[in-house]
C-alpha cells in the first residue's frame, strides 16, 4: 500500500552547517516525483531525510515534519530502523552485498524482519526479481554471488531487494548515473511499472530522465556555495519543462546555468 508523503517546514543540518532550509511539499501515493537541481543543492540530503538515513552521517539532524500518511517520521518514540523498513532506498552506485548470493541479497530484508519458511522466502524472492525485471536473467543462478552481475543487473537486484520487503515508499538516489544507456532504459521502464504499487521519489541529474519518468518535478537550488539549498518550485513535470512559474527553473532547464 503506497502512502502519501507530506513534508512541512523541513530544515536539515550536518553539525552546524544548514544543508537544506524550510522545505514543504506533498508527494501523492502511486506517483513518481523527480528532484532536479545543481550539485550541492541538497536534493540528496532531502531525499535521505525521508527515510532518516540523513542522521546516519555524524551530526545529521532535522527540524520540521515528515508525515507518511498521518504518521510523523520524526515524532518522539519513532525508531529510525522501523522508518527504513517502510521507506526503501536505492543508491547511486549499485550496492548488492558482495558476500551474499543473488537469492540471499533479495531475501536479506525479509530475514531482518523475522523468520520465514524456505518456500515463503523463495516465493517472495521470485516475485521481487520478477518485479524488478531481473528474474529471467538470473533464475538459473540464484546461488551465484550478486557481484558477478553487470552494473545494470546489480542495480535491478538492489531494486528487487528494496521492494521485497513491500515498502510504502521507494527512494532512488540517482539510480542510473553509474549505468550505460541501455541499462538506464531498463530501469526507467521498471520505474514506470513500480509506480503502480509504490510512491516513488527519484533524484536525477538527467533532465530528460526526469521528463520521461516523473509525474511531478521539484527544482532545488542554492543561492551561493555554503548557503542552504531550497525548494524553488514543485509542479507537474509537463509544466516544469514547458512553462515553469519561476525564472530560475527555466534558466536551469534550458541550460543557461547550473
Amino acid at each position: 500500500m503506497a502512502k502519501r508523503i507530506d513534508v512541512s517546514g523541513l530544515t536539515a543540518y550536518y553539525g552546524s552547517h544548514k544543508a537544506i532550509e524550510d522545505i514543504s511539499m506533498t508527494v501523492e501515493p502511486r506517483s513518481v516525483t523527480a528532484f532536479i537541481g545543481p550539485s550541492g543543492c541538497g536534493k540528496s540530503t532531502f531525499l535521505r531525510t525521508l527515510n532518516r538515513m540523513h542522521e546516519v552521517t555524524s551530526g545529521g539532524r532535522v527540524e520540521g515534519k515528515v508525515l507518511l500518511d498521518d504518521e510523523d517520521l520524526y515524532a518522539a518514540g519513532i525508531d529510525p530502523v522501523s522508518v527504513r523498513r517502510e521507506v526503501g532506498m536505492v543508491f547511486q552506485r549499485p550496492n548488492p552485498f558482495p558476500t551474499m548470493s543473488i537469492f540471499d541479497n533479495v531475501a536479506a530484508g525479509l530475514r531482518l524482519n523475522g523468520s520465514y519458511k524456505k518456500s515463503e522466502l523463495a516465493d517472495v524472492v521470485e516475485k521481487s526479481l520478477k518485479g524488478a525485471n531481473l528474474w529471467n536473467e538470473v533464475k538459473d543462478r540464484l546461488n551465484k554471488p550478486g557481484s558477478g552481475l553487470s552494473g545494470g543487473q546489480q542495480q535491478r537486484l538492489c531494486i528487487a531487494r528494496a521492494i521485497a520487503v513491500e515498502p510504502k515508499v521507494l527512494l532512488m538516489d540517482e539510480p542510473c548515473s553509474a549505468l550505460d544507456p541501455i541499462s538506464t532504459l531498463a530501469i526507467e521502464d521498471l520505474i514506470g511499472e513500480l509506480k503502480e504499487r509504490f510512491t516513488i521519489v527519484i533524484v536525477t541529474h538527467n533532465m530528460q530522465q526526469a521528463a520521461r519518468v516523473s509525474d511531478r518535478t521539484a527544482f532545488f537550488n542554492l543561492s551561493a556555495v555554503g548557503q542552504p539549498g531550497k525548494l524553488i518550485e514543485i509542479d507537474d513535470t509537463e509544466r516544469i519543462f514547458s512553462n515553469p512559474s519561476v525564472q530560475a527553473t527555466e534558466d536551469y532547464i534550458s541550460g543557461r546555468f547550473g
Binding site: N51, M53, V56, V81, S82, V83, R84, R85, G88, M89, F91, R93, N95, P96, F97, P98, T99, M100, S101, A108, G109, L112, N113, K144, P145, S147, G148, C158, R161, A162, V165
Partner: protein, 339 residues
Amino acid sequence: MDISTQNTDTDDTPPPAAPPAVTAEQKRAARGATRPGDRIFLALSRGSGIFLLVIMAAIAVFLTYRAYLAISKDDANFLTTFEWNTSLLPPKFGIAVLAFGTVVSSIIAMVIAVPIAVAIALFITHYAPRRMSGPVAYVIDLLAAVPSIVYGLWGALVLVPHMDGLFGWLNDYLGWTGVFSWDDGAPRSMLTVGILLAVMILPVITNVSREVFRQVPQMHEEAALALGATRWEVIRMSVIPFGRSGVISASMLGLGRALGETMAVATVLSPDFDIHASLLNPGGGTFAQNIASKFNEATEFGRDALIASGLVLFVITLLVNGAARMIIARRSEYSGANA
C-alpha cells in the same frame, strides 16, 4: 575533433596473419624495462624475490639435514614416543608430547583471543565515539610491542598466583569432564599457558581486524541500514562478512605467534614428558619451550634432535597456513573484495 583520424583506427584492421615473433627487445619493453631506472628496479625486485626463496630453501635444507642425522639414530618412534632422552645409548626421543602441547595451548589461545579481538576491533571501528577509539587503538598497539619475556615474567609472577580461583571453579563445575579436573598442583599448566598466549596474540589479531573492518565501504553499510537493519544487524550483514577473510588472516598471524612462542611458555609452564587429559594439571610441553630449555646443555647430537623437533613445528605452521589459505580461496567468489 578530427573524425578522419578516429576512423583510421577501425579501417586499419591488421591482416589475419600469424603474429610476428616477439623479440627479446619487445619482451623487455612489455615489462617496462627499457630505461636504465626501470632495468635497475627490475633487477633489484627480482633479486629480492629470488633471495627470499634461496633463504627459505637454505633453512629447509639445514633443518632437514640435521633432523635426518638425529632421526636416523632414534631408537624409538620419533612421532609417537613420550620421552626425550638423547644421551641414552641408543637414544630414545619423540615429539608426541610436544606436538600435543603446542597444538592444545595454541587452540586454547585462539578460542579465547579471536572472539575478544574481533569484538574489540568492532568496538573501535563501529561503536566507540571517535574521542575514545583513538586512545584504545593506541593502547592495543602498545600491547603488541611488549617483548615476550615481559609477558613471561608477568605470567609467572602475576597470572600463575591468581589462577587458583578459576581453576577451583572449573574443577568444581566441569571437573567431571576430565578435561577440567584439578589435583591442586601449581597452576603452571596448559590452560595457564593458553591464557597467557591469548593475551599475547590479542593485539595483533585486533589490529589487523580493525584495519579490515575500517575498510568496509560506506555503501555496503548503508545498503543494510536502508533495509531497516539495526546497528548490530549492519555489522552482521555487511561488516563481518566483508571482513571475514581478513579476520582469518589476522588469526593466522596470531596463531603463528602462539605456535612459536618460547620464553613466555618456558617461564610459566612446569613441563614433563607426558600427555595429560586435564588442561589444569601441570605438565606437558611445546616445541619452542622444549628447544629453549634444552638447547644450551645439549650435546651435538641432542641439538640435532631438537632441530628435528623444530622441523616438525615448521611443517605444522606450513600446514596451518595452507589450510587458512584454502578456506579463504574457497569463498573468494563471495569475497568483499569483489565489491
